[in-house]
């Protein structure tokens, strides 16, 4: 992932683009200069040969020739044109008689002359670049115009045609040298472009990296994160915007937290204020029910007493929740025999016969006995109230060897409706929302989970394979913490 990001990252892309542009520019410039250079070089070489041929012919060939002097003229022309290094010249009779072709004999020049070339040479100066054995040659052919001849015997007084081959070996070598120089220059330009690109991208990518790290820190909850703003470019603008956003976010979150804390404190205060009068009321209604045992309005007194007890339990739960919210809940660990603790819990609630318990009798775990009691009681009570019997409670060491204790409470009821499974541990969540006066407070499962989390354990809800809700509790062994 990191490697992939390196390759497709901003730095690589910027550097690649930079380098590509530099390479394109330098290759284009080299190409153009190469083409121009070659054209000029070849033009000059060709012009030199052509001018030499023209001048020599004009100077050496008289306007009128003595009879049968063609060989003499040809020899003089060959001597004058073929003496330069790399050049060879040959003179051939203009094909006026049968049997003459105007093509020089093979081997007279460095390159063979084609019939077509000789034919074109009859009409004027022609040239052609030819490769022969890997060496480039310039082949020039022409005849002379503007001479006078006799009507009867024109072949005796016609000046010969001339063919010249000039080696372009030196020009080819110069071009190779030039190409090598261009390649070296291009390579240097490429290296320089790469270096510059890396330097330039460092300037861009440093702020981007800092911004990324700051955004990650902000996402992780460090709301005080800010970025250093330097420069006046777009990146500095972005950093400034980021800082503004982070400040606004921090302000909002702080306000929300303060409001939430205030409301929780309010709940805690209210609960505490309610607790004292409620305690007295619970005691008084107890007395009232005993006194009104046989009275005609005894049913009302019983109802008042039951509701008052429920109210007392709700307030106790609220106070418990408030402690969790305030972070005031503390673990009091002790070595506990799980089987004994479970039995004690069920015994105290009078559910001994309603819940089937399975588990080893000798499992001993270090945990908070009071909180374990609360969790087991809440889970069993929830199963008894909302599920249907038989309710089973199986406990034992976890199968994955994580240590601690794993307890599963299952019933055979309708199970959790689909939309409830996700929020079953939320406060005041009830299976039958329409029934506002249910027996539960709606806080039991929430408190159970808070207790499990306080232990560093988990509490999960699910539906069993053959119906019914299944709550799975895992509490780690507290030994490791001490």
């Amino acid at each position: 992932m990191t490697r992939r990001r390196r390759l497709t990252g901003l730095r690589t892309r910027l550097a690649a683009a930079f380098t590509a542009v530099a390479l394109l520019a330098s290759v284009l410039a080299s190409g153009i200069s190469y083409v121009l250079m070659r054209r000029v070089m070849l033009q000059r070489a060709q012009d030199a040969v052509l001018t030499d041929v023209r001048t020599t012919l004009a100077q050496q060939v008289p306007v009128s020739l003595p009879p049968d002097a063609e060989r003499l003229v040809g020899a003089a022309l060959e001597e004058a044109l073929g003496s330069a290094p790399g050049r060879r010249a040959v003179a051939v009779p203009v094909p006026l008689l049968g049997g003459q072709t105007g093509v020089p004999p093979p081997g007279a020049l460095d390159v063979p002359v084609t019939r077509e070339f000789a034919r074109r040479a009859m009409r004027g100066v022609v040239f052609q670049r030819v490769y022969r054995n890997g060496t480039p040659y310039l082949l020039v052919g022409t005849r002379v115009s503007g001479y006078t001849t006799t009507v009867g015997e024109p072949w005796r007084t016609t000046p010969p045609m001339v063919f010249v081959s000039a080696s372009l070996r030196r020009e080819a070598a110069d071009l190779r040298l030039f190409t090598r120089a261009l390649l070296v220059a291009d390579a240097a330009a490429l290296a320089a472009a790469l270096g510059l690109a890396l330097l330039a991208t460092r300037g861009v990518l440093g702020p981007v990296r800092r911004l990324g790290a700051a955004a990650r820190a902000l996402g992780a909850g460090e709301l005080g994160t800010r970025v250093r703003v330097d420069g006046r470019d777009e990146l500095a603008d972005l950093a400034r915007t980021f800082n503004g956003t982070a400040a606004a976010l921090e302000r909002t979150v702080t306000e929300l937290r303060a409001m939430e804390a205030a409301s929780r404190r309010f709940v805690a205060d209210v609960s505490h204020e309610l607790r004292t009068p409620l305690t007295s009321m619970v005691a008084l209604t107890g007395v009232l029910t005993e006194e009104a045992g046989d009275a005609p309005d005894g049913a009302a007194a019983l109802l008042v007493a039951a509701e008052t007890r429920r109210l007392g339990a709700l307030v106790e739960n609220l106070i418990e929740i408030s402690r969790f919210d305030a972070g005031a809940a503390a673990l009091v660990l002790d070595e506990v025999n799980v089987a004994d603790a479970v039995h004690a819990t069920l015994e105290a609630r009078g559910w001994r016969d309603d819940v089937a318990v399975e588990g080893p009798a000798d499992l001993s775990v270090r945990l908070d006995p009071r909180r374990f009691d609360v969790v087991i009681a809440n889970l069993a009570g929830n199963a008894l109230k909302h599920g249907r019997p038989p309710v089973t409670l199986r406990f034992g060491p976890p199968a994955d060897g994580a240590g601690g204790v794993r307890a599963v409470v299952a019933d055979r009821g309708p199970g959790l409706p689909g939309d409830l499974a996700a929020v079953v541990f939320d406060r005041f969540t009830k299976a039958e929302a329409a029934r506002s006066r249910s027996e539960g407070s709606g806080l039991g499962l929430s408190i159970a989970r808070e207790n499990a989390v306080l232990h560093g354990g988990t509490l999960d809800a699910a539906n069993g394979p053959d119906g019914g809700a299944v709550f799975t509790l895992w509490l780690p062994d507290g030994k490791e913490d001490e």
Partner: protein, 175 residues
């Protein structure tokens, strides 16, 4: 790393440019480079002595640049159609070899002797007719600066192969 379409296009353009330019010297077809050059030399004419009815007649012929002895070469060439029509012919029937020599004792700018002999070994035994010797002597002396001829195989009283001849010896043959 994937190469985006624009960059791929740029690369393609660069490659196309490079391919179009090619490397090294490219061969070409046959290219015309203007009209044929006009003959422009006007060398001095040479005088050749031809035979006209048993007598010698000087005939001018076009010269060649830097070849003052061209007349001796021209002696062995058949006369042109026009000369033949005028009744001219040549008695020199073998090609000649000629070079001029200047005596070492002679003053600078002194007159030179022309050494003439038949070209090629198979004419070594050549015996010239009198009129042919006269043609050679007079044509050679028509070359500026030549005052006499050393001719191989000329009729010579003492039987030597080389004989000094001058045009003056054949004054009776001149028209």
């Amino acid at each position: 790393m994937s190469i985006g379409p624009p960059r791929r296009a740029l690369l393609a353009v660069a490659a196309a440019c490079a391919a179009a330019a090619g490397c090294g010297i490219r061969p070409t077809g046959i290219i015309a480079a203007g009209d044929a050059p006009a003959a422009g030399a006007h060398p001095a004419t040479v005088t050749v002595y031809l035979v006209h009815g048993g007598r010698l007649r000087p005939v001018p012929r076009p010269g060649l640049p830097d070849q003052p002895q061209l007349g001796l070469d021209q002696l062995s060439v058949p006369p042109t159609a026009r000369e033949r029509a005028m009744g001219l012919r040549t008695e020199v029937d073998v090609p000649l070899e000629a070079y001029s020599v200047v005596a070492a004792s002679a003053a600078p700018g002194g007159r030179a002797q022309m050494v003439v002999r038949p070209a090629g070994a198979r004419y070594r035994s050549k015996i010239w007719s009198r009129i042919a010797a006269a043609q050679i002597a007079c044509t050679a002396q028509a070359v500026p600066g030549v005052e006499g001829v050393n001719l191989w195989g000329a009729p010579n009283p003492d039987g030597a192969a080389w004989a000094a001849v001058t045009c003056g010896q054949f004054a009776d043959l001149l028209e």
